[in-house]
Symmetry: C2
């Protein structure tokens, strides 16, 4: 085993070890009929908490709250959503604005609970009344057996510290945080960081999911990867079994179709590496090379993403990249007009550095793709594997001024 | 073996049987080193003929003629291109127009040879001078050991009749004709029709290849499938071995990258079935459902295309659809703005039948996708397999007025 693979593996294994070694007595079958048979014997229901309330967090929270109502046999209706508390001035143009109540800034959590709308991060989208905003993260996760994480990358570690020891020991989690944390030393999946820090198991959700489209109930698909080891603190028998069927019940909507798989690493990698490919597609579009060239770059991009997964993660499956929403479909969406694609295209068209473009277009935010391209390059360079990933490497070199966009065809 | 599979197979097997059963003495290895060693012992070169001179035919002919010059060790420089003779009036705006020569219509073949440009079907693109237009199909294919077919579907059979018995018995062919011929009785690959009618073997070329982009040397990729049986009339030993390396030499350009595979059926099917998926993507775009929904339709489309191939052709490979230019990349290009996508989108936006739209947009031509959707449905219905292909079936039903675009999410 190469050292890089060892590092990547270590992180995953650690997540599994931080749990009781007591064997699980519940049946492992995830077939619909056996799960239903089991559930009818249960006397308690799962309580759901979502940690994070941004644009994507609120869109997912809406889905969760819709489904806990619909599937009242297995879920408590109330879903708690942790809101990072801040003051917010409701604009007077808001349909629910009242001078008596909203003339001065109010707590965001209060506004969410009063108006059933995340007026700051998902304005205009009605949220179900059983979704309750909670400014206390400890209170939000109390008694929740199902935890959904949806916070910015940089807060994952600190948030886990805040709730460590304050969650149910048999809780199970899903991370909706896009991407992975890449450094020269190795790759961390956010689901593994969460699992390791909290001593529970955490799966991952990723797909072709532009948050606002999902919030507006425009049809989309997603991939949820969940593959817990057999060494976790068992879920009490009074609770419905937590398996693929249960997660699907919690996330699947008529407008949000869920595919359940086991490959957590592949699901997480897709969301990170597609941004590098989207830069390449943007460069090509900026050159005006046409649809043939763009499709070629995307095809080669999928294959390099898969190669990366298979080289550095034992558990990765080829089809996660070529067949799932978190792979090929997310790449298609990102290359159609995502921010990485857009900025790269403008950079070529205007013959200006991409940093200048991102400063203007993203209002000071950083492009995920340029960061990932650099991180991935450092990771590959440390292992002598740059030449195995010519497309990702040329994107990095173009960003660094060491190669030209004209070099792309020669490497694919 | 199901009857449908049997029919599909029959057509392929027939193509192989129509050849000598004498075993082939040449080595079957296609490795670069052994091929080179073999070639140095040869005393003759391959002569190349292209049958067809439309937009795509001329673009491919340009590539062939560039490569016969570059690889003069294995190919005769002159490439003959059969031109369906017609009179053409060169516009006075053409840079080479001379009142003395071009004041009245001239034979198209003469203009091509004089101006080194297919002034009617690929105007503005210089063709290599070693590409010779020939209005006689029999003369064009004479002594050619490598035949490239690039004619409209409906002429394949008649053209084969015209040259049957007039080609070298050991000739090998590649069909660049997109798609397949589907009827309730079965599926014919054009490569098989050609092979069977002429008693030779014919492979297939398909990919994300918009002809004008290729002609303008905008970068693209293609897939060539070539998998001859061991029962053909042997190629004389004086000629270089005809294997994957040789075909790659003939087709690969810095702006046109070739991937060689063995799956002829998958390569041919991709070019036909993607048009049905492109209609679905166009419907979704017409509804304004966004990039998530479109990516979902494309993802499910690739999987249904693959399922179709694997169900009805023993030789089909999964990765032809998910990894090759003729699969996923061609689908991406077609859904980005091909004519099927465009007409379907306009049809939904303007709430008018697609037949009206195609009449206006295509100047009386027929959309390939709507024909294929109907043919595929008849084929599937005859085998009771409609429900196994819900996306292709709903596209057919929408075209027939038996379903609505709103039904698409429920079937994927």
């Amino acid at each position: 085993m190469s050292s890089s693979r060892a590092v990547a593996r270590l992180s995953r294994v650690a997540g599994h070890l931080a749990a009781s070694s007591k064997p699980i007595s519940r049946p492992s079958s995830s077939s619909s009929s056996s799960a239903t048979a089991k559930m009818t014997a249960t006397t308690r229901k799962h309580k759901v908490a979502i940690i994070g309330s941004g644009n994507w967090g609120s869109a997912i929270a809406k889905i969760l709250a819709e489904n806990t109502t619909q599937h009242g046999d297995v879920f408590e209706s109330e879903v708690r959503m942790w809101v990072f508390e801040e003051d917010y001035q409701l604009p007077s143009s808001h349909p629910s604005y009242s001078p008596a109540e909203h003339s001065s800034p109010r707590k965001l959590s209060e506004l969410v609970n009063q108006l059933h709308e995340n007026v700051k991060y998902l304005p205009g989208v009605p949220l179900p009344p059983n979704l309750v905003a909670d400014p206390s993260i400890v209170s939000a996760v109390k008694d929740a057996s199902l935890l959904i994480f949806n916070v910015p990358h940089q807060f994952v570690s600190k948030i886990c510290d805040q709730i460590d020891g304050k969650i149910l020991p048999y809780a199970r989690a899903i991370s909706c945080i896009k991407g992975v944390d890449v450094s020269p030393e190795g790759i961390s999946l956010f689901s593994d960081v969460i699992g390791r820090k909290l001593g529970i198991y955490c799966g991952a959700l990723s797909g072709a999911n532009i948050a606002t489209e999902v919030a507006l109930e425009k049809f989309s698909e997603t991939t949820i990867a969940y593959d817990p080891p057999g060494t976790l603190t068992p879920v009490p028998e009074e609770l419905p079994v937590i398996n693929h069927d249960l997660w699907k019940k919690l996330f699947h909507r008529p407008y949000f179709h869920v595919s359940m798989i086991h490959d957590v690493a592949g699901t997480s990698l897709g969301g990170a590496l597609k941004n590098v490919v989207a830069l390449a597609a943007g460069f090509v579009d900026g050159m005006g090379w046409g649809d043939n060239a763009k499709a070629a770059v995307m095809r080669v991009g999928i294959l390099e993403m898969r190669k990366f997964g298979l080289m550095f993660f034992d558990s990765c499956k080829s089809e996660t990249f070529t067949e799932e929403s978190c792979g090929v479909a997310d790449l298609i969406t990102s290359c159609a007009g995502g921010r990485n694609h857009r900025c790269a295209k403008l950079s070529v068209e205007q013959k200006r550095p991409i940093e200048e473009i991102e400063g203007e277009v993203l209002n000071g935010q950083k492009l995920q793709g340029t960061l990932t391209a650099k991180e991935v390059n450092e990771f590959l360079k440390a292992r002598g594997k740059e030449n195995d990933f010519p497309l990702m490497t040329v994107v990095y070199k173009i960003l660094m001024g060491e190669a030209n966009v004209e070099d792309i065809p020669s490497v694919i």
